[in-house]
Structures are given as C-alpha cells and as structure tokens.
C-alpha cells in the first residue's frame, strides 16, 4: 500500500464524528469543571459546534482560523475560561474516543490537534 491513510480516515471519518458527538457533549455537560459554561445555550446549535470541533480535532476538513477560535471564546475568557478548562475538554475528548475503542496512539494525535488551539481559545 503506497497510500497513507489520514488521521481522519483512520478514526473512521464522518461516521466517527457522528458517533462521538452525543457522547462527547454528554460528558462535557456532566463535567462539573466546565458545565457552567454551557448553561442556557441553545443545545442544537451547541451540538453543531461540538461537531465542527470534533471534525477538526479528528483531522477532518475545516476552515477554522485562529481568529475564529478567539472570537468564538472571547466571551468565555471574560467569564474566567482558563487552562484548567481546556485540560478538562481534552480529557473528555480522550474519554469519548476510548469509549468508541479508538487506539491510544490516535487519541494522542487528536489531543495534540486540540492542544494546538489552546492559546487561540484562551485569547493569548
């Protein structure tokens, strides 16, 4: 085989995102460290945002820029969003993938992509 599968393909592509989105969103909502940031938001819109985040973290197609990340989280940074909350999200992401039997090497790659957005998300 000369063709290398991308991370997105190895994880299972869009079907994997679809399988992960409900599980991930449930974990985030029941995670006391971060659930307060999701109070009162439109759940359908939030689920769609989680889906685009997961697509990006899984190495899938996206057009997010650092600026989009900053604009999208600035109001949360004002409310105290910090490193510990980003840690929690990355942890929940890993737990979601473990539940879907994704291998640890792939989970580490996903975590690294999520990690790469940290400074933009925290607006620094």
């Amino acid at each position: 085989m000369s063709e290398q599968l991308s991370l997105f393909e190895k994880i299972g592509g869009e079907a994997a995102v679809d399988a992960a989105v409900d599980i991930f969103y449930r974990k985030v909502l029941s995670d006391d460290r971060i659930s307060a940031f999701f109070e009162g938001v439109d759940m359908d819109k939030q689920a769609a945002k989680q889906k685009s985040f997961l697509t990006m973290a899984f190495g899938g197609p996206h057009n997010y820029t650092g600026l989009d990340m900053r604009l999208g989280h600035a109001h949360l940074v004002e409310r105290g969003l910090n490193d510990s909350h980003v840690d929690a999200v990355i942890e929940d992401l890993g737990a979601t993938l473990r539940e879907l039997n994704v291998g640890e090497d792939l989970i580490a790659q996903v975590a690294a992509i999520a990690e790469s957005t940290r400074n933009d998300v925290l607006c620094r």
């Binding site: 409900d22 759940m43 769609a48 889906k51 697509t55 997010y64």
Partner: protein
C-alpha cells in the same frame, strides 16, 4: 448562469462559488463560521427551487424536508430563491375563515380555520394568526393533513393576552382572519416505524402532540407511542375522551394524564409530566422525543432527555414562549 434570488435581489453565481460567498460578497449579512458544511451557522432556506442534497448533509430530517440548506457548501446547478431562517416575509399571508370555536376546557379554545388557499403543512408545525397587520401570535397545529379538512388550533387564554383574549372574547365563526405559515420543525418524520416515541406536553402543548400522534398512527407507526400530558389539576386536562379512544383503537398507543397538584384521583399519574415520563422510562437511548408547551419544562426536559441517552437529532421541541408585548 445560475441566479440566486434573495429579498427581491438577483445575484449571479460565479463558477465554483458557494451561495454563502455569493451573498456575503454582495453584502447580505449571512452569519457563518466553519465554511465547511459542519457548524450549521450559515443555515438558510430555499423558498424557490431545490437545494442540492449535499448542502443538506447533516441537517435534521425535519429541516431537510423544508428545504433548509447550508449556504457554505451549496453549489446549485439551477436558480435558487433563498431566505435566512429569521426572515419574516418567508411566506405569504393567507386568508382563512373561522369555521368553529369551541371551548376544550375553561381556558383553551378549539379554533377551526378554513384556508382560502391550500396550505402545505405537517401536524405539529405552527402558524401565525394575525389580529391585525402588526399583531400576530404563533399557534401550533393539532390537525393532520389528509385526516382533517381544516386547520385546528388550541388557543389558551393568557392573562392580559391581547390575541388570545380577542380569540376567546370577540372572534366569531364566519369571520375571516389572516394567517402566515407554516413554520417549525417539531413534527413526525415518516420512517423508522419501529422506533419508540415519547411525547411530553403541558397545557395547550397538547395541540402539536395530538397532531403528531395521529399523524404517526395514520402513517402506520408500529413502535410504542407514549403520551404524557400534564397540568396542575383536572380542569387543565382536555381531549381525555378522544385520547382514551385512541388507546382503545391502537395497541401501541399509551396515554398518561399527569397532575402536579395535590388532588390526584385514580387513573392519573402524580407529578409533573416530564418527571413522570423520565421515571417510567429512565433509559431514553434510541427513543424519539417530542417536548411541547411551557418553555421552562421544554428546556429542562430537553437536557434531561439528552443526558438520559436520547440522541440530539431525535429530540424535537416546541417551546410556547409568551410574547413580552402580550
């Protein structure tokens, strides 16, 4: 050359250009974010023409059926007339004659309307009913197309409600009113007929649910269908006879009237409708949920249903928000 029509303006779509790029390029304020068909921020609706299938990928079925699409991944090969979801003028005004008015209980009026033009709707959607040009309110449809000849509404009289007060006090059969619609994505999607349905409603939130249930049954839905209708006391419940008749007629339909007040006679469940439902069916994995009525109940029940295993795409809601300018 493909033309995109938005609010009476015609824009030419360049080759390889998305509808989003075309519109924003001409200064139309379409919100967007991911630009790759995932985040659904650039949701729009085709009011003329058919959006390409790929531009509807990932949308809820009820939105697909109403020709909603994602502008950032929409490359139509034929002309398209489009609108933003919040555009008010998305539909024309239709005159309708009041056929009958009948109280269902002390506060809720059964309103039957005969449209002067055919209206294509699904049971559970809502229409806007206008008292005059600038004063209208949304009411859910309890009728089922093909089953019921006319439109049926359950209008609850609100304290100081201008439109509901007018409907209860002044409107008479034979008068003509103006309506606009339908709208809303809380309705039954045919298919997956063995899936279990749970419907939770408070007060006149029964209106869309009564339509959805009869729609599902008439389309041969074979999975279990559980209705939990809640009110504080007996006087708040209505259509109980009709619902008990449906239970007799369909083995897969179950009706649980719930009373949250102190006096709960035999045959009724004690507690709020959502609490009773989640107690009786604690694991909601693979269930389809319909939540209608009081906005606070809908909000809480939606989150509870999701946390109890229902998939987000399987939760349909219709929150009866009371207008601030009542």
């Amino acid at each position: 050359m493909v033309t995109i029509r938005y609010a009476k303006d015609n824009f030419e779509l360049n080759e390889n250009q998305s509808v989003l790029d075309c519109l924003t390029g001409h200064g139309v304020p379409v919100p967007f974010s991911c630009r790759s068909g995932v985040c659904q921020t650039c949701l729009m609706r085709a009011t003329g023409g058919t959006p390409p299938e790929i531009s509807q990928h990932g949308l809820k079925d009820s939105l697909k059926l109403q020709n909603y699409f994602l502008a950032c991944v929409c490359h139509p090969s034929a002309d398209l007339e489009v609108a933003l979801p919040d555009d008010d003028d998305i539909q024309a005004v239709i005159p309708a004659t009041v056929k009958s008015l009948k109280l269902l209980n002390a506060d809720i009026m059964h309103v039957v309307l005969e449209c002067h033009l055919p209206i294509d709707y699904r049971a559970g959607q809502f229409i806007n009913l206008f008292q005059n040009q600038s004063l209208g309110r949304s009411y859910s449809l309890a009728s089922v197309p093909h089953e019921d000849e006319h439109l049926h509404l359950h209008v609850r009289r609100l304290p100081q409600g201008r439109v509901s007060g007018w409907i209860h006090e002044e409107l008479r059969p034979g008068e003509t009113v103006e309506i606009r619609g339908p709208g809303g994505d809380c309705f039954y999607i045919p298919g997956n007929t063995e899936q279990g349905l749970i419907l939770i409603g408070t007060g006149s939130g029964l209106a869309p649910l009564y339509g959805i249930i009869r729609d599902a049954l008439s389309q041969g839905h074979s999975g279990p269908i559980h209705l939990f209708h809640g009110s504080r006391d007996l006087n708040g419940l209505y259509l109980t006879g009709e619902l008990h008749d449906l239970v007799q007629q369909y083995a897969n339909f179950n009706y649980v009237p719930c009373l949250s007040g102190d006096d709960v006679p035999h045959g009724f469940a004690a507690g709020r409708a959502d609490d009773v439902a989640f107690q009786q069916i604690p694991n909601l994995k693979n269930w389809r949920m319909f939540l209608c009525g009081h906005p606070e109940m809908v909000k809480i029940a939606k989150k509870k249903a999701f946390m109890a295993g229902a998939s987000m795409k399987d939760i349909y809601v219709d929150a009866f928000n009371v207008s601030q300018s009542s």
